[in-house]
Symmetry: C2
Subunit: 117 residues, 2 copies
Amino acid sequence: MTTTNEPPVTGQRLDAAPQHPDIGAIELAGVLHALSDPIRLRIVAELAAGGERSCSSFELPVVKSTCTHHFRVLRGAGVIRTRLQGKTRLNSLRRADLERRFPGLLDAVLSAAVSAD
Amino acid sequence: MTTTNEPPVTGQRLDAAPQHPDIGAIELAGVLHALSDPIRLRIVAELAAGGERSCSSFELPVVKSTCTHHFRVLRGAGVIRTRLQGKTRLNSLRRADLERRFPGLLDAVLSAAVSAD
DNA sequence: CTATCAGTTCGATACTCATCGTACTAACTC
DNA sequence: GAGTTAGTACGATGAGTATCGAACTGATAG
């Protein structure tokens, strides 16, 4: 595919590793906004139970591209970390980072999510 | 003003007391969304310090109508309570209610708001 | 009664966002 | 190489929302 009649993309590379904010760059409003969506709250709650999960292991009521969107929001807010492994992306909660930045916040949200279930 | 040439409004009354959700009706996603705006976060943080405050006692960088909007969002989410007194509205945090519904959540957000300040 | 004050209501506007479908890509399998 | 798999990229769309200004209201002060 080096000879398509379209010019090569000048933007960011597709296979670039996913970007995660530095601990200090994690903003409270951003985290709260990321957690204020029911689907993302569900992702975070399930992620809190286990270790690393691929995107497709969640049975979410949305199509793939919407799924990508939600994981990107969570990643951009600093809530989850995404690691490339072969053809899948493994997602995990940034528990330690969030705990250092906003002590008690994630636990409070998680137990609230359970009780509101 | 009882004889304007316009028919009387059929909608809700203007002076109706502000509506607050029942404790059980407070939703986690709603609370997180309400707190995910910097202006509202600031209102809540200032409200956490003292008792009752009128809307205008906050020096917010927005006009009055926008102010009304933010207080309505907070009220609708169950975060604050608004009480009519004369010509002002006195707002207070629903600390006890929130603590019962989502233990530790508000405190975690408040201390996070301070540390992120 | 008139004026002021505190706040709401009502558009209007611009921006964000959750969703989808289609096309694409990169790794893996056959 | 041809398919399959697990996503991402890219519009497009519709819903929500943060903002403003102007008009209004209800209580109080003069």
